[in-house]
């Protein structure tokens, strides 16, 4: 953890610093293009000209080193699960995960007979926001990302976690 991370008891100064810090982290999360299946096409459509994601400042990055949010778009299979875990580890902190589509949330339409399908990506990596739909519309993905931004705003990185 950083030098001053989680060290301070909660008081007025630290609370204001927290607000500044979490605001700076939430403004424009660059997302890590992790499209595997049909949801990747909807993610592309969200990033393309009509539902422009870049007007919210969310820019697609293709390497985990430069990304804040990993959007798991599409079915994650067993063979891919080990790679997802590795890629999540290689992302720079602070990092968040959006599970886009019902395949990433719970295995989707392949949960019953999919011997090779991972039943939900939260078995392997911690997920912050689940976006339902198969595939979810680009507007649903944008709403999911905005929900993630609200969630980041409430974070308290500096105060010591009590209990």
């Amino acid at each position: 953890m950083g030098l001053l991370e989680n060290k301070f008891t909660d008081n007025i100064i630290v609370e204001k610093l927290d607000k500044l810090l979490s605001w700076s982290r939430s403004t424009s999360p660059w997302f890590f293009q992790f499209g595997t299946a049909c949801c990747a096409i909807e993610m592309m459509a969200a990033a393309a000209s009509r539902h422009d994601l870049m007007r919210i400042g969310i820019i697609p990055r293709s390497s985990p080193r430069q990304a804040d949010v990993m959007i798991v778009a599409g079915t994650v299979t067993m063979k891919m699960a080990l790679r997802v875990k590795k890629l999540y580890e290689q992302m720079a902190d602070p990092k968040y995960v959006v599970a886009m589509g019902s395949c990433a949330t719970s295995g989707g339409p392949y949960w019953q007979h999919g011997y090779h399908v991972l039943k939900g990506v939260d078995i392997v990596i911690p997920v912050d926001v689940y976006v339902p739909g198969c595939p979810p519309r680009p507007e649903a993905l944008i709403e999911g990302l905005l929900k993630l931004q609200e969630q980041i705003l409430e974070e308290r990185p500096l105060t010591r976690k009590t209990g």
């Binding site: 950083g2 580890e89 602070p94």
Partner: protein, 138 residues
Amino acid sequence: MYRDFGTVLFAVMLGIVMVAIPLVISWLIAPSNKTKDKLDTYECGEEAEGSAWLQFNIRFYIIALIFLIFDVEVVFLFPWAVVFKEMGLLALIEMGIFLLILIAGLAYVWVKSDLDWVKRKVKYGGGRYKSLTATTED
């Protein structure tokens, strides 16, 4: 006359400070957990096989050398070009000799065929890549 060196010093100091501030802040507050996986080389999600420290083809090194020489030559040209007008004909001749020597160097490198690149061997070449089609024996 030495007074204006102060501004240069100030500019350098300002540069150092402006870089140091974000680094210190991020050292203080940025979360950093250096797990083994994170420090692994990123290879599109796979374990990287083999090491990157292996013997590269020599042509990359030679091209880097040749580039360095001619880059330094251009660096010498800049100050000369700035004050060229006051110095008159003599400076032109001197710089001409300097350039001639380097052109002789270039000719030497060209003749020794250091500049021609390793050609690709393509199975189904066509059109302008016809010459690169791999003949059957190699």
